[in-house]
Amino acid sequence: MIHGLASTLAEKIIARASGRGQVRPGETLVCRVDLAMIHDSGGPRRVAPKLAQIGAQVWDAERVVVVSDHFTPAADAESARILKLTRDWVRETGAAHFYDMQGICHVVLPEHGHLWPGMFAAGGDSHSTTGGAFGCFMAGYGATDMAGVLASGEVWITTPETLQLWIGGALAPGVSAKDLMLHLCASLGTDHNGQVIEYAGPALAEMSISERMVLTNMAAELGADTALIAPDARTMAALRATGREPPEALRGTDAQIFARWRSDADAPAARAEVDAGALAPQVAAPHSPANSDAVGACAGAAIHQAYIGACVGAKLDDLHMAAAVLRGRRVARDCRLLIAPASARTTSQAAADGTLATLTQAGAILLPSGCGACAGLGAGLLADGEICISTTNRNFRGRMGSPNAEVYLASPYTVAASAVAGCIADPRPLLAERGVARPVAGAA
């Protein structure tokens, strides 16, 4: 590095984006944005009036990605109006990349090769942290911030301190990245404002891209500014397979990218460790992801609904986990299992490999792709007194329908096992009956 001082991955990305040789935690500075993502809820309907107020146009239409995922498909006239407004805005501004009802933004962005190591991206959604799984510094912002980004191509940030989280050991069968994140919400707490979490370690190296996205997605629940995972061969294979090229300034061979976008070994950072091998399936009780404990603590608790959905919990790997439990079994009579695949591509891949048939034969009801019930918007909301176990990332009071409903959070394995049992259940006995050791596919 310039000055010969060690930097973390986050500091290297922010230094490039801010045109500095080096940056230090706590420095507030202005960064150039490589990519801006907005969605139908916080996007055009809220930023267009603000851009008009400023008197500015979109700074660079090629760098703007718009995803309609919150109000999709329109369930009422107002949702339809919002979706139409979004389409009209894309046409008028010439925003270059538009995904209309193709799935949830955090899954659609990497599916289509928009995120690359070293990028500084701004996302108009709190789970934009997901982009960190691709070595991209992507934090979440509100609508006024995004209007500022769209007008100027710039945003101010305070350089976060890096918390390097070493994930040792290996996840046991029936235990997933989701369980790890629920455990971390309880053990590390949800107040990591001012920190960027950089995951590393042997358990991480073994994880599929989909599982890594769970770690960066739920950094939002840890309250971190965002999260990062340094790119490796698996990252680059997934990105190269999208057929899209990185931004010109960030191109290079895999080896060049690995050398450029990693933390220096002696960079100052906070450090923490977790042993993945010691972990049992976790469940977060209402109304906070921090209320997590091993599944045994609430096993047997009654449920009315099991929900497999959201950016964090309905990717192809997640559907494979559910299918591993549900194959040849039936959803309990007094329980409903709703599944909203995270993207249109997820649905088509799950149809092609037989996963959807396994799920529907078990009695699962398929819902459209989108934020859906997780954001309190789509199908699958809860009535007063109803209890749901869900693969989503937040169980705040009132988020999924009635403020008098209760939501438990868990992995796709545990949600599927609970749907079969009709109450909260440990998935490991069901998986062991099948001799399923590690049923999760390795693909992104």
Binding site: G42, I54, G140, T144, R394
Partner: protein, 169 residues
Amino acid sequence: MRVSGRAWVFGDSIDTDVLMPGAYMKLPAAERARHCLESIAPDFAASVQRGDVVVGGANFGMGSSREQAAEALLTLGVGAVLARSFARIFQRNCLNLGLPALVCEDAGEIVQSAQLEVDVAEGWVRVQGGARWPCRPLPDFLVRMVQSGGLIPHLQQAQRARNVAQENA
């Protein structure tokens, strides 16, 4: 920039779904705001007065990026938000909308309905006839941004300057 009003005291980890439930996202701003904090403080939206100060514990505003959470407080007339700590996006949203949001490590000392005075630029809060506690000062440019009404007026000024520069070029 000073704000005076009564304190509305809340606990730790008040999340954005409590501040502004997703189910009301399609309503106009004024109607939406009536549901602000309803699941934990049903009388808040109807009783809060212009200039009142919302006082939170740790991690106030955790959760979603939805700006409507901050906007609802502003719409109801809240003059400032103090907390032991904030969720990053929520604090940015407040400041961007011109609503002062200051970290006050002693926020836990403030009692419900206390009459407060807050100085945003100097960074302190005082209870009428009583104690005064420091708040973490905002960087100067953020104080100016909040004083000018938030990020949009701030960018308007920058855009006007750019337009003038272009005309003169």
